[in-house]
């Protein structure tokens, strides 16, 4: 059950990444790292932050934004906040 919830969170977050970074619908964003992704610029970072708050009904702090350096770290952040 917990595994299923985690998979669903990951696929939901992947869809948010694809929408915000204008990625193709079959693109796998899970290996993305901010510093290596031209589409993930500072404006996209702000949009991601806000989209994640809206999608997962969370309230993030400034320090959380600094943790969003990769898809994997962002997923970890969302999982912690949802826990």
């Amino acid at each position: 059950m917990l595994l299923a919830m985690s998979e669903s969170l990951e696929s939901q977050l992947a869809e948010v990444f694809r929408a915000v970074l204008s990625l193709e619908s079959d693109f796998d964003p899970t290996p993305l790292v901010r510093e290596e992704s031209p589409a993930w610029d500072s404006m996209a970072g702000v949009t991601l932050f806000s989209a994640i708050e809206s999608e997962f009904e969370l309230q993030l702090e400034y320090s959380d934004a600094a943790r969003m350096v990769s898809f994997a770290e962002t997923l970890k952040l969302v999982q912690e906040k949802k826990a």
Partner: protein, 545 residues
């Protein structure tokens, strides 16, 4: 509505007629465009946004006025008085309120002189940059007054997030983007402020608290106390609009006698004599409003529709995008912004004798208006965005109190109107019957137990009732689909016509199921499976699985 749902809705409107707007605000608004796209999509339009670059509000006022494009200015106090910007900190000397109000007034005058400009203002707390706390409060009020005087509307103060503004320069709270986007699209589609002429209001849970067809005249609340207080205020507000020459009409999904009874009772501050007409039927509200506009010989853009039910509002928005739709707030704390908004839409200063007589004139004209029968818009995609989950509970064993209560208090969506005692239900179950209940939840929370169905041992549905709170969500179709998939589906339903179960008669007619002479209707499981196996806008699961 969440981000991904908004993205999907916006993408689905790619072929819809364009709604071009020019949006000016002094901050970032990441993903507001997505929510604007969704808000336009539910009104059958595709948004086309031109966003002004950051910090160019002053230049905007000197730019040419576009011919067709509505200009929306989303303003905060620091757009009117730059010294009140939280991001710039506190000045070395206190502000002089009179001086800054003068410059704010000039700026607003410049905006209101533009033909297609609409102002939406966030009346948020300003930094304590004035000589005293009282002076700060006065300035906040004075700024909001100036905005209203310039024809602007106030947004809810909760739309502002100081945290987001300080963090990323976006002063809109993520949780409020959906609501703000709807206000922007409403403003873009609405007539100029003060130009609306007709207020069309829903009745149940708007003019009064409760559902009159279920609770009866004595079970609804409308007085200046308790649950009815907000509705009492609304009634007094409607009376003030009527005195100002605004035409008031009511549209209700109800039996006409039920709908009129409270208005004719003489108990409420709003009476039938204050309304031009009351249109009550179980047909689409959009069709009723369109017919009203025709009878009154007024454009749809002169009409404002107030309802508490987001599904009714979506249906009218989708079908009649020119009508301004306003949500009657579920929380009383949101009533001030609600009244402000209506006041802005209807504000008039030049009241004539003819205005005062207008209601009587139109009442005579509409006395012969024929009932309208028409289906509403297909809302499948909007309903899907609500994230509804229907959970079926087997209540054959265990506590059935709430289900029995539902059976005995539901009048409208009721198979035959028969009342059952708990003992009678128990006896049928002991003999081999089945009792189903269902709960519904969506993004806004749980609606609780909303459906009950009792089958006899020989699989005849003796009871099928559903709460009127969840009409139009296709819950009844999903439930039939569930029954059809059971290893032993029902074989028939025992229908009986009552004075109040017209919604159930419509349901059967829609399914093309006809009762025989004794009221028995065959349950065609394979037809139900074919029709409702897929495509319903909700998730269904059994509590046992």
């Amino acid at each position: 509505m969440n981000f991904l749902e908004a993205s999907r809705l916006a993408a689905g409107a790619a072929q819809a007629p364009a709604l071009p707007i020019r949006l000016a605000m002094s901050g970032l608004a990441p993903q507001l465009d997505v929510f604007l796209g969704a808000a336009a999509a539910v009104r059958g339009r595709k948004i086309e946004i031109e966003t002004l670059p950051y910090g160019t509000l002053g230049q905007f006022l000197h730019s040419p006025v576009p011919d067709e494009k509505t200009e929306i200015l989303l303003l905060a106090p620091w757009d009117l008085v730059p010294e009140l910007d939280w991001r710039t900190g506190f000045g070395s000397s206190p502000l002089e309120a009179d001086t800054v109000l003068g410059s704010a007034q000039s700026l607003l005058k410049g905006i209101s002189n533009r033909a297609h400009a609409r102002i939406l203002y966030m009346p948020v707390s300003v930094p304590p940059n004035l000589p005293s706390h009282a002076a700060g409060l006065r300035l906040e009020t004075d700024l909001a007054d100036l905005v209203l005087a310039a024809g602007g509307q106030l947004l809810e103060a909760s739309s502002f997030s100081l945290d987001a503004y300080l963090q990323v320069g976006s002063y809109l709270a993520s949780s409020e983007l959906d609501r703000v986007a709807h206000r922007i699209v409403d403003a873009a589609l609405a007539p100029s402020y003060g130009q609306a002429k007709v207020l069309v209001t829903d009745l149940d849970n708007v003019v009064w608290k409760g559902v009159v067809a279920e609770a009866g005249l004595d079970g609804i609340e409308y007085g200046p106390e308790g649950e009815g207080f907000g509705h009492f205020l609304y009634q007094t507000f409607l009376r003030s609009l009527e005195r100002a020459g605004i035409l008031l009409c009511a549209v209700s999904r109800n039996d006409p006698l039920d709908a009129r009874a409270p208005l004719e009772s003489g108990r409420m501050i709003l009476g039938i004599e204050n309304l031009v007409t009351v249109v009550a039927s179980y047909h689409a509200k959009s069709a009723q409003i369109a017919a009203l506009a025709q009878e009154l010989n007024l454009g749809l853009d002169a009409m404002v529709f107030v309802d508490d039910n987001p599904i009714e509002l979506a249906e009218v928005r989708r079908s009649l995008p020119e009508v301004t739709c306003v949500h009657f707030p579920p929380r009383r704390n949101d009533l001030p912004a609600f009244f402000d908004r209506l006041r802005g839409l209807f504000s008039r200063e030049d009241l004539t004798e003819e205005d005062r007589e207008r209601s009587a004139l139109y009442r005579r004209r509409l006395s012969t208006m024929a009932p309208v029968e028409a289906q509403g818009e297909d809302l499948t995609d909007f309903l899907a965005s609500l994230g509804m989950e229907l959970v079926i509970h087997n209540r054959t064993q265990g506590d059935r109190t709430r289900v029995v209560q539902l059976i005995n208090k539901t009048n409208q969506f009721n198979l035959n109107g028969k009342r059952w005692t708990d003992d009678e239900v128990g006896a049928l179950l002991e003999a081999g019957g089945r009792l189903h209940g269902a709960t519904l939840s969506d993004r806004s929370g749980s609606h609780g137990e909303i459906l009950a169905c009792l089958e006899s041992p020989d699989r005849v549905i003796e009871v099928l009732v559903m709460s009127c709170r969840v009409f139009q969500r296709r819950v009844e179709h999903a439930f039939l689909g569930y029954l059809a998939e059971l290893p032993q589906p029902p074989v028939s339903l025992r229908f009986g016509s009552t004075d109040r179960n017209e919604p159930f008669r419509h349901f059967l007619a829609d399914l093309e199921w006809t009762p025989d002479e004794s009221g028995v209707v065959s349950f065609d499981a394979s037809a139900v499976r074919d029709r409702f196996a897929a495509g319903l806008p909700l998730t269904l699961r059994s509590a046992e699985s």
